[in-house]
């Protein structure tokens, strides 16, 4: 189990351009590189002495120009294990689901990898196909190290890892890398210009709507970009009204509940009242925000790099997502680094995974900004994570207390496509919210059979 990285939904409406996302991952990688240097502990040296020379093949979402960043990460790891070399393979993709598909096709074509960089969307797919290695024996072998990591991991993440793991009960992924919840990134300047007080974490949809109307009237700025991105644009509205696309077990669709329909109606209302830019565009929400044309946007940890790059950290504060009544909510997703069953370098790959799970590694990753919040509580509360970040950054981790795991069944790539397509029609006004959500329900139900 791992982090929901910056590219949770790096589609047409994502906060960052694809290029920015790729750079972001690179920065994260560079951060972990430094972590490797710090992680040169005694046990590592012992393990290093036992490990045979190997070249670990690693595949990640991104373009080939990122290889340097990943190389830097591996160089750091090699300070601990000089006999281990890495071969990084980049696969450019629009989102994690498409990336998982591309990797699957490559594997079918005979490609050999040792370690994959996946997100929640591809986790079940690969476990279901039986191509990733159960880690139970390795975890048992390094029980002390893994127990320490799990003890420091948010209990809900551990719970999600077990609950949404493959039905065979085996462990294919360990908490490493990070996770992402959703929160509202509020531009203080726009609020000030509109003569409004900043919101509180208790703000409701009604408060949100009222603020948006005032902002529109007094500044002309948009309130929030309503998009058809599963993690960033759809799930936050559903979860903040106590709804989701599927039930807790991801076995039944729940798109046509009154709460889900209400969430769709609210999202559409934001578009109708022109509080959101017209959906379907290629606008950059962060750029709009910096220009003072957007009051807030939804995001996890990943916008911090763009905010830092624009020297705009002080312009933003992070709040819980506005909610309906008492229904505080957020989706959560996590990253995964499985070892392939066909790997001939299992021990070297396992050392790499262990290294990614260490507090030292996670600390450096958090400090560099990264694309996700850490899985480890100690790191999430540390200055490495909170420094040079907007006020309220700690809420990105605290959101785990009430977050809903983003439903990603085995056919998650197909359900995501169906959900985004119908939601896109709803917010564009092609179909009424109730009819749209019923249609979504039918489509997801068929896919879950």
């Amino acid at each position: 189990m791992v982090v929901k990285s910056t590219t949770e939904n790096p589609g047409e409406n994502s906060v960052f351009s694809r290029r920015t996302v790729l750079k972001t991952v690179g920065v994260g990688a560079a951060g972990i590189t430094s972590a490797a240097a710090l992680a040169a502990c005694g046990s590592g040296k012992e393990a290093a002495a036992e490990l045979e020379a190997a070249t670990v093949s690693f595949v990640y979402l991104g373009s080939a120009d990122q290889a340097k960043s990943w190389d830097a990460l591996f160089t750091g790891f090699r300070e601990l294990f000089p006999q281990i070399d890495f071969k990084a393979n980049a696969i450019p993709s629009d989102n994690w689901a498409a990336f998982a598909d591309a990797v699957a096709v490559q594997l079918a074509g005979g490609a050999k990898y040792d370690v994959l960089n996946l997100a929640t969307e591809g986790a079940l797919l690969f476990a279901d196909k039986g191509v990733v290695l159960p880690l139970d024996d390795l975890i048992a072998r390094d029980k002390a190290v893994m127990d320490a990591a799990l003890a420091d991991t948010h209990p809900r993440l551990v719970e999600f890892g077990k609950k949404y793991g493959p039905p065979d009960g085996k462990t294919y992924y360990i908490p490493s890398g990070g996770m992402n919840c959703m929160a509202a990134w509020v531009n203080k300047d726009v609020y000030k210009k509109a003569g409004l007080d900043l919101p509180t974490d208790d703000w409701t949809w009604d408060d949100f709507l009222a603020a948006g109307r005032t902002i529109k009237k007094k500044t002309g700025a948009f309130l929030f970009p309503v998009t058809a991105e599963y993690f960033v644009g759809i799930m936050p509205w559903l979860t903040t009204n106590g709804a989701s696309t599927m039930n807790e077990d991801w076995t039944k669709a729940t798109c046509d509940t009154p709460q889900a329909i209400e969430a769709a109606e609210f999202a559409r209302q934001l578009v109708v009242e022109k509080l959101s830019p017209p959906p379907g565009g290629t606008f950059d929400r962060f750029e709009l925000g910096i220009k003072g044309e957007l009051a807030c946007f939804g995001g996890g940890r990943w916008p911090v790099l763009a905010v830092r790059a624009a020297n705009a950290v002080d312009k933003y504060e992070i709040y819980d997502f506005p909610h309906r009544g008492a229904n505080r909510g957020s989706p959560v997703g996590w990253a995964c680094f499985p070892i392939m069953k066909s790997s001939s370098n299992i021990d070297a790959s396992w050392e790499f995974l262990k290294y990614l799970s260490t507090e030292k590694g996670a600390s450096i990753f958090a400090k560099s900004g990264g694309t996700a919040s850490p899985c480890l509580k100690s790191v999430a509360e540390s200055q490495e994570y909170l420094a040079d970040s907007p006020v309220g950054t700690e809420k990105l981790y605290r959101a785990l207390d009430y977050a809903t795991a983003i439903p990603s069944p085995t056919k998650g790539n197909l359900t995501q496509r169906a959900i985004e397509d119908v939601w896109g029609q709803i917010i564009a006004g092609n179909i009424k919210p109730d009819a749209g959500m019923k249609k979504m329900q039918e489509q997801i139900t068929k896919l879950l059979v």
Partner: protein, 296 residues
């Protein structure tokens, strides 16, 4: 055996020797993959687990699959619109450019029409994505000013017509150049003789230009059908087949089925269906060509 007989025997193989590179290429990249597709269509396989022979079951599934039928319908609409617009507009533009206009304008015109054809579909799709952006798209903005629908890629009614227009912009240049070349091969003395006989401009076009450039029109119609029926990139990049499958093309559905849903057997059935549709349409076009194509 005499030397002459040996040479005769060797001579029989000479043409095949010259043809061998093309035959090898055809077998490796067309014929064997085609046989492979037929083979795959008889199994169920998800890339990872053991394939299972199911006979013709996958074919039965095709006719009961509403999304497949919708994709085929969309593709036929796209293809027919493509043929009509490309042949019609290509002919009009070719005739216009072929008239005695200053060379400078003729070059400008030809280049302007042909240039989009040189772009890759990926680049063209991204350009139009920006142009049609509902927030800051220039094309979308002026379309609204002129009373045309906006945010068309989000509309299940207008998304396909929008893609048809983009396809016309992108590939018209090829048809235009082929038809123009066809018109320019018409001997000028035929036109001059007709003029001496008192034929008007319209008469020249209808009785000389049009009949004599029918081979070019036929070529354009055949290639336009084959190309349009295999359309994939603009749908994949601009609309992802949506909204509500309104722009889902049959090749895109093949991709979704085989490489996202991992139903290799069923994906192969769709590939075989595309092959037979294109083959049938081409044979029909050739069959009817005798009725309207001038053969000299």
């Amino acid at each position: 055996m005499t030397l002459q007989k040996v040479r005769q025997k060797q001579g029989r193989f000479t043409p095949f020797l010259f043809l061998s590179p093309a035959i090898l290429f055809f077998c490796c990249f067309i014929f064997f993959p085609l046989l492979g597709a037929f083979g795959y269509s008889l199994i169920t396989w998800d890339f990872f687990t053991r394939p299972k022979f199911v006979g013709l079951d996958n074919y039965g599934k095709l006719f009961k699959d509403p999304i497949a039928l919708e994709a085929i319908k969309n593709t036929f609409i796209f293809t027919l619109a493509s043929i009509i617009t490309h042949v019609g507009l290509g002919l009009i533009l070719a005739v216009a450019v072929n008239r005695k206009i200053p060379k400078f304008f003729s070059y400008i015109f030809r280049t302007a029409i042909f240039f989009p054809f040189l772009l890759s579909w990926a680049a063209a799709s991204l350009i139009w994505n920006f142009g049609l952006d509902p927030t800051f798209g220039v094309v979308d903005y002026y379309a609204g000013k002129l009373g045309f629908p906006q945010a068309t890629l989000l509309s299940s009614t207008w998304a396909l017509p929008t893609l048809i227009m983009i396809d016309l912009w992108k590939t018209l240049g090829f048809c235009f150049i082929v038809i123009l070349a066809g018109i320019q091969t018409i001997p000028s003395d035929i036109n001059e003789a007709a003029r001496v006989d008192g034929a008007s401009g319209w008469r020249l076009f209808w009785n000389i230009t049009l009949p004599l450039c029918t081979p070019a029109l036929f070529f354009v119609a055949v290639t336009a059908f084959i190309g349009a029926f295999q359309i994939f990139e603009p749908m994949y990049i601009m609309t992802r087949g949506g909204p509500d499958n309104a722009t889902l093309s049959v090749v895109q559905y093949l991709h979704l089925t085989a490489f996202r849903n991992f139903e290799i057997g069923y994906g192969a059935v769709i590939a075989v269906a595309i092959f037979f549709i294109v083959l049938t349409a081409t044979l029909v076009q050739f069959r009817f060509a005798k009725r309207w194509v001038y053969e000299g």
